[in-house]
């Protein structure tokens, strides 16, 4: 397999994709915290409340995996739309996992922000390329 060297813009985009992807599992568990939702409701919840790029073809297999791991459970519920919908809810293990992940997330991001303090100040004084300073 021959690959052209990756330009840095593509590379940073890739990093962002990986970052968002890695957050998706926690985001789904968080979306289900207040009660049961079906797939499309989860997608809409994530789209409206998070900065995640929510790809439908990724979320459904992930829900299936969370179910296999017994972090969520599912049930079919009849609806007025004429077809049943598959609802997901957190299991006790899923609630525990969500809290655990939240703790890890909070600790990690706090330390990361700490490390990035100086860089953060820089980004406020140096405007992004091609953009006017705010």
């Amino acid at each position: 397999m021959k690959e052209a060297p990756i330009p840095s813009a593509d590379n940073s985009e890739k990093w962002e994709v990986q970052l968002r992807k890695g957050s998706l599992e926690l985001a789904i568990l968080a979306a289900l915290w207040d009660g049961r939702l079906y797939g499309l409701e989860i997608l809409r919840e994530l789209e409206s409340k998070s900065d995640l790029i929510v790809v439908e073809g990724t979320v459904y297999p992930l829900l299936n995996r969370l179910r296999a791991l017994a972090l969520v459970e599912s049930e079919w519920v009849e609806s007025d739309s004429g077809h049943p919908r598959k609802y997901y809810r957190l299991t006790p293990a899923g609630r525990q996992r969500a809290l655990e992940m939240t703790r890890i997330w909070a600790k990690f991001s706090a330390r990361m922000n700490n490390l990035l303090t100086h860089l953060n100040e820089e980004t406020q004084t140096v405007p992004e390329e091609g953009k006017e300073p705010v």
Binding site: Y38, G39, L40, V55, E56, G57, T58, Y60, P61, L62, N64, R65, A68, L69, W76, S81, G82, H83, P84, R85, K86
Partner: protein
């Protein structure tokens, strides 16, 4: 909601391919997945009169082969976690390898690991 005959045909073909590609899963699991994706497509096109909504919805899901591959990869990784069988682990890693570069790297590294392990077991490497 009324879907055109053509849209209906597109959906049916999509779901049929998806079901076929999921045949390595338990039949009841595969049926469940197809049913859920069907419900998703119907919900997305409900109340939308715009031409092409079915096409857009299916595009967001990826091709049936891509979508099935994501389910199958998860299934294999899950089995590997449960069984911890070296054969299943290697097999699922091989699948992962076909999907991503990092997976490929992991696969190569683990192959080397297996080779070294085999060498050590057979004492072929000991002097």
């Amino acid at each position: 909601m009324i879907l055109s005959a053509e849209s209906q045909k597109t959906i049916d073909a999509y779901l049929a391919t998806l079901r076929k590609q999921l045949r390595v899963l338990r039949p009841e699991d595969a049926d469940d997945i197809v049913e859920e994706i069907h419900a998703h497509i119907l919900d997305k096109s409900a109340g939308v009169t715009a031409e092409g909504i079915v096409g857009t919805t299916l595009a967001a899901l990826g091709t049936p082969d891509e979508l099935a591959a994501r389910y199958r990869t998860d299934e294999l990784l899950k089995r590997a976690q449960v069984t911890r069988s070296p054969v299943v682990s290697l097999f699922s890693l091989a699948r992962w390898a076909t999907l991503s570069l990092i997976g490929l790297l992991a696969f190569v590294v683990s192959l080397a690991g297996y080779a070294m392990g085999g060498c050590w077991l057979s004492s072929a490497c000991s002097s």
